[in-house]
């Protein structure tokens, strides 16, 4: 054997690998994403077993873990898909089965694509006319407050834009390391990105007793505690909230803006659920609109990015990976760095950009497709509203489950009381107690939820996140099964 050949031991090569968990980037080791974590892996395995004919107490796994509306049977908006089909295969522009308004939009999008093809790369910031349409949409939504297309960055879903912004803003070493404030509970993309970037996560707790409301005193507490060990620079807020569904009041948004300005924080407003508002008395207020209505003292100085996507609301087009962010009051040199950063990934998927264009530029009242578009959109949102109420009511009838009103978004995050014995068992097994609960629910009922520990929760409390996306009749069954399971579980561990 010479020095360059691998070492053989008992006939088996014993050669250290170049890339192992130990030798790899230490930051990446900390990355986890609960929405697709171990419970989902087990769910996929169970589905496989079912396909192979293994007998179970259920015939299908209901994946109420991820905010994927189409996966749960929601239908796409016809108009949107017509335009996308025309963009994909422009010969269909000759087909008289497609309405004129769909063809018009398809032509406009294709004209803006290189070589009139959605297969050409686009500019890395996104197709210009689509950014213009996004700006117009924002202006219309915010009652005329101007939006500059240059401040719009199209992205591969909102996730891409969120991670990009965080990447841009993380700097410093040790006590100067960027701290990023995020709500607890939070959508685990944030914690994953922060772990990956080695940023300091600063948790601020939403108040479960006040409908998951946000209190500035809590923001202040979290910030002051964090200042000991990091440099807080960013404040993230999800409105409507994920997983909690709360829709922040206007006063609350003003408070947050004031706080961000006082403390010199960059505000990141994740507004992907902006059309998903169900509760009476609740209304979506965009951070930008409120900001501008607070006057130039705020609107010309607060630095902010807000995010939207094609994945939620009434269209649910997750698979297209369409999204955008609008940046405000950013230092021009920093903006140049942002523009440079997005160019590394070349460009967002053009089909996603096209889908986004339709979301921000849907049929107008005088156009042929308007009636059916409005009908489909209204039906989807009405169904979600109905299911949000249904869910809250049902869960609140179960002793040991308390459920805040689902004011918006697509999820419920009820609190579950777990018997001490269950908690002890979980601890023995090195598992979070709500993970034990959810795993058991999966094995016994074939319902896949995500344990609250994946989102963060107040110490000593337990929750799960369930989507309200299954069709109403199926949802009713799911709710009943969870109720029955909960009672059984409580009994079993009493």
């Amino acid at each position: 054997l010479n020095s360059s050949s691998p070492v053989f031991l008992n006939g088996v090569t014993c050669r250290g690998k170049v890339l192992t968990l130990d030798s790899m980037n230490p930051n990446v080791r900390r990355v986890e994403y609960a929405v697709r974590g171990p419970i989902v892996q087990r769910a996929v395995q169970i589905e496989k077993e079912l396909r192979e004919g293994v007998k179970k107490p259920f015939t299908e796994v209901i994946k109420a873990n991820i905010g994927d509306a189409h996966a749960m049977g929601q239908k796409p908006i016809t108009f949107f898909r017509q335009v996308l089909a025309l963009c994909s295969y422009p010969d269909l522009l000759e087909d008289n089965k497609f309405p004129e308004d769909a063809k018009k939009r398809a032509r406009r999008i294709l004209d803006a694509c290189g070589g009139h093809s959605i297969g050409a790369y686009s500019a890395s910031q996104g197709i210009e006319c689509i950014r213009q349409d996004v700006a117009r949409y924002i202006e219309k939504r915010d009652g005329g407050i101007p939006s500059n297309p240059d401040n719009i960055y199209l992205s591969t879903g909102a996730s891409d834009a969120i991670v990009t912004m965080l990447k841009l803003l993380v700097c410093g070493e040790g006590r100067d390391r960027t701290g990023v404030m995020i709500s607890i509970p939070q959508y685990p993309l944030y914690s994953a990105a922060l772990a990956d970037l080695g940023a300091v996560q600063i948790n601020y707790y939403l108040d479960e007793d006040k409908c998951w409301g946000l209190d500035v005193t809590e923001l202040r507490r979290a910030l002051n505690a964090a200042k000991q060990h990091c440099k807080p620079r960013v404040l993230c807020i999800i409105n409507p909230g994920n997983p909690t569904g709360q829709v922040q009041s206007r006063e609350c948004i003003e408070d947050v803006i004031r706080f961000a300005k006082e403390e010199n924080l960059f505000l990141m407003a994740d507004e992907v659920y902006q059309d998903n508002v169900y509760a009476k008395g609740c209304k979506f207020h965009s951070f930008k609109k409120v900001l501008f209505e607070m006057g130039p003292e705020y609107s010309s100085s607060l630095e902010m990015a807000s995010f939207h996507s094609t994945s939620k609301c009434y269209m649910g087009e997750c698979g297209f990976r369409g999204g955008y962010m609008e940046v405000l009051n950013m230092d021009p040199e920093v903006k140049a760095q942002l523009t440079k950063l997005v160019s590394v990934r070349l460009c967002p998927p053009v089909s996603g950009q096209a889908m986004l264009d339709l979301v921000v530029n849907p049929p107008l009242p005088d156009e042929p497709s308007y009636a059916s578009y409005l009908k489909e959109r209204t039906a989807v949102l009405a169904a979600l509203a109905e299911k949000s109420h249904l869910t809250e009511e049902m869960f609140n009838t179960v002793p040991g489950i308390t459920c805040n009103p689902v004011q918006g978004a697509m999820y419920t995050f009820p609190r579950i009381t777990l018997p001490q014995k269950a908690i002890a068992k979980a601890q023995e097994e090195g598992q979070a107690p709500d993970m034990l609960y959810c795993m058991k629910l999966l094995e016994e009922e074939g319902i896949c939820l995500v344990p609250g520990s994946g989102f963060g929760q107040k110490e000593g409390t337990f929750h799960f996140r369930m989507t309200i996306l299954p069709p109403t009749e199926k949802l009713k069954v799911v709710l009943q099964k969870i109720r029955d399971f909960h009672l059984r579980f409580t009994q079993e561990f009493s």
């Binding site: 691998p6 690998k17 929405v35 297969g119 698979g319 920093v334 440079k340 950063l341 160019s343 998927p349």
Partner: protein, 503 residues
Amino acid sequence: MTTSLDYVNPRVRAIRVSTQSFLQNLAHQITQNMTQGGQKPLKGVIDLSSGDPHRAGMKPVSFVRQVLAVCLYPHLLQDKIFSLDVKLRAQRLLQICEGQSLGSYTASSGLHHIRQTIADFITKRDAGISANPRNVFISSGAQRALMVVVKLLSSGEGQTQTGILTPQPCPYTLPPLLDEAGVLAVPYRLMEERGWALDLNQLRQALDSARGGCNPRAIYISNPGNPTGHVQDRNSIQEVIQLATAEKLLLLVDEVYQDSVYGQNTEFLSYKKVLFEMGQEFSETVELVSFHSLSCASVAECGLRAGYMEAVNIDPDVMKVFDTMLCTDISAPTTGQLALDLMLNPPGPGDPSYDTHAQELLLTRTVLTRNAQRALEVLNDLPGFSCQPAMGGIYLYPSVKLPAGIREQAEMLELGADVFYCQKLLEEERLLLGAGQDSGEAGSHHFRLCVLVPTYVLEDALHRLSAFHLHLMGHHTVAGRNVKGKAGCSSQSGLTCVQPTTV
């Protein structure tokens, strides 16, 4: 200000501004200015700098777009214009999507069915060396998959900072990616005089010089070479694999242009195939990740953003991390994933779409081969230009000796001479070429031009380039010699004056 340059991630600040971005922005400005008057420009910008065949006018593959259209709008299943195989495939693909919709997320590493299609393609390509779908990871473009692996490799600082051996020249998209990941690029020179072949000594030299300054952990290979067009033979691939084994380096192999080999007596050999034919000592140990994508020659669906990597001999725990990292994207665009299936599992003989499909691919191949040959002739005819023949890929990468006058002007403007040349070419002739990376003797620079464009576009581009270059050389000397500018548009290569076209 809350944000300022001081508080921007130093890693982001360190990402070098690519000349490609600079030139592309300039091209955009020029196009804007031209169309501002509301009139159609007489001579639109021709962009040969990026590998974007559709942009230049190449047509998409019909089968791909037809199936996608039906998947996007399944009402089209009733439409008579689509043939049966299109409809059947669309139905099959819709079935594998959750909720039978392209609007749902998929598993983070891609739809299982598509990973299987990819594995089957690889197995067939490599004459039976089997591929397992579990080792296949689908991402939003090969660039994303590459970033995942590079990020995992990235660690350390200073002397312990991860280094990756990269070819010089390399794909223009690579240096910014390495910068963002915090990885040091360790260049190894490709041998221009030998058709841009890899040279083991150059690799060794690069490795030796790197050690002590950083921790080299991987070799990046582009085969077929981007932008050089070199296709490695078995011997060359074996040498690289042996080196990687001896020096404990992971292989990152970009094989995106594997479907575009056209050189005489040249065939594409995948690194995996060669590896497995070298015996167990290598096939069971060498860590290899290879990349492919929709942004290739045959379908060129760059804008759909989908690609994949195949992991060979990668630690299973590390592969789980690949998946976790891809989770933060949630999943690759579904339209792109389906297009991968259509690309790698095309219509077969007997299928209604087969003939058209085969013709379209043949046409693309013909255009590529012919354009490469034509461009090679024209370039080699221009004073100061010298171009190695390419054997594959979609680019030519000529070198040009620029006169001192040009180099001086460029220096005064603090631009590389090649960038300055490209800028002038763009401004005067509305032709955008890619500025190469300086990798030759003093005074010699390189340009990158994509030749997978409609032939009339190439002819127009070559005409513009010739006119510009001859005019330029007519006013300058090369190394003291007077070079007579050739009058008019005629030259030995028989270029005819082409009508200006709008693009």
